[in-house]
């Protein structure tokens, strides 16, 4: 039996179009995009076209797109770059409690070097309040970094409004749009953000490529020092096949975004409806209003049972999902995001994220529901906490 892939928030399969576009850059067109000869020019042309496509896709200018090696690098650059560049103005940064580790641990690291970080709380559905943001801004605040859409529960933040609040106080605004890009149509000028991070492999592009959008005129310290690549802002030989694949994947994703989102949301909604009807004692985590939630995301906490057991049971049935609990790592702490939205700690251990994609089918959804029902029943029979 073929495995059923329901972990698109972790990564997506590379699109055929992106793969085809990348191939020549692995072979005949192998040149270093910075070399001053025919091979170099060929590489540079690929990179420049890719930059233009990505700029066009998000309403930016070509010169505002900087390639990185990952979404994580883009987040690190945005935060550490701003922290270093504006350290004379202040050492206060505002972010949220539900950020991806790429942002969260970067802020934690800066705390070791004399920066102060305010982690804004979220409500029961994972939303940051603009009043909380406004209240947290101080004289010495240099940066606000709030994620566009959450990777675990799919909550979409009102980025434009939050950005307006920051700008009203003269504070820079960065958003981690790694989960949002390719799933939600946006325009950076309309959002008003100063910096935005994305990652290719979340929208059917290749792994190992990201972008940091930096608004024209924004002064920023470098993260990766080195050669003159990326207009002397980011050292390191450009991943030519990667950026070409990223651009094609993004263009492709945006060309069918609305219909894909509608289809993926229909699978998700069918799944959620069936699960809630057939399994009791569960929490459906995240935004209830589907317009404020990533179309591919469903996240449940199952009471009385533990996430890794659920995950492995599903895996044995050929279903690939993701555990909301960190139990599979060395840490015993359950998800920070789930605790932040008020899921009780014991229950947070029993959480699973299902993230759908455009290649999933209704049959796969129905099979997954059946297997999930069986798994939950089996594990509850095994649980000393379940008394029914």
């Amino acid at each position: 039996m073929k495995n059923i892939y329901l972990d698109h928030a972790a990564t997506t399969p590379l699109s055929e179009k992106a793969f085809e576009a990348m191939k020549p850059y692995f072979s005949d067109m192998f040149g270093n995009a910075n070399s001053q000869h025919a091979y170099g020019r060929e590489g540079a042309k690929g990179v420049s076209e890719a930059r233009a496509k990505i700029a066009n896709a998000i309403g930016a200018k070509n010169g505002e797109i900087y390639f990185t090696a990952s979404g994580t690098e883009a987040d690190n650059w945005a935060i550490k770059g701003a922290a270093l560049e504006y350290r004379e103005k202040g050492k206060h940064i505002i972010t949220s409690v539900i950020e991806h580790p790429a942002v969260y641990t970067t802020c934690k690291q800066l705390e070791k070097y004399g920066y102060e970080v305010t982690y804004l709380p979220v409500d029961g559905e994972g939303f940051v309040s603009k009043d909380d943001l406004e209240a947290a801004i101080r004289e010495d605040t240099i940066l606000v970094s709030i994620m566009f859409a959450n990777n675990e529960i799919g909550t979409i933040q009102p980025i434009k409004e939050l950005c307006e609040v920051a700008h009203r106080h003269g504070v820079l605004f960065h958003t981690d749009a790694v989960q949002a890009t390719g799933a939600i149509r946006y325009d950076v000028k309309d959002l008003g953000v100063d910096m935005l991070s994305m990652s290719a492999h979340k929208f059917y592009g290749p792994k190992g490529v990201g972008v940091l959008y930096l608004r024209n005129g924004l002064k920023m310290e470098k993260l990766i020092t080195g050669g003159e690549q990326e207009r002397a802002h980011r050292g390191g030989t450009t991943n030519t096949p990667g950026v070409v694949g990223m651009a094609v994947a993004l263009e492709d994703a945006l060309s069918t975004l609305e219909e894909d989102a509608k289809y993926v949301a229909s699978l998700r909604d069918r799944f959620v409806q069936k699960v809630l009807a057939q399994i009791d004692d569960i929490y459906y985590n995240g935004a209830k209003d589907v317009s404020k939630r990533l179309p591919n995301n469903a996240n449940f906490s199952f009471r009385y049972i533990e996430g890794e057991s659920i995950l492995f049971s599903l895996d044995l049935a050929g279903i690939c999902a993701s555990s909301g609990s960190a139990c599979s790592s060395a840490s015993l702490e359950p998800s920070r995001t789930l605790l932040s939205i008020g899921v009780p700690i014991g229950t947070a251990h029993g959480s699973i994220r299902f993230s759908f994609g455009k290649h999933n089918t209704v049959e796969e959804v129905d099979y997954t529901v059946d297997e999930l029902v069986k798994t939950v029943r089996r594990l509850r029979e095994m649980s000393p906490l379940y008394k029914k």
Binding site: Y304, E306, F312, S328, A330, E381, M382, S383
Partner: protein, 125 residues
Amino acid sequence: MYNEKVMEVFKNPQHMGEVENYNAIGTVGNEVCGDIMQITMRINDDGIIEDAKFKTFGCAAAVASSSTATGMIIGKTIDEALKVTNKQVVTELEGLPPQKIHCSVLAEDAIRAAIDYYEQNHKKA
């Protein structure tokens, strides 16, 4: 991350449930850490564990450890059961990832807790 043996035991755990008319019960771990193990036993007048069963809230390693440990004490005397160590459970499972060793410790603790319960409640009577 788990070897085949652990996954096999997780898939088909033995001795799952609660012993009818048990006279020994031990529950260890807590929900906050994500692991709770309960072992129930029926110990006869000769101090032999006639039957033992487990219930576990926890990861695959916790389930596999409790199933294995429970199997190791059935038919044993109390003294023999008290000699079962977490290392033996790990050996029986052909290894556990380092961060999951605590699951085997929990199994050993659950056996001891159940026997403690028995000794507190029955020896004195």
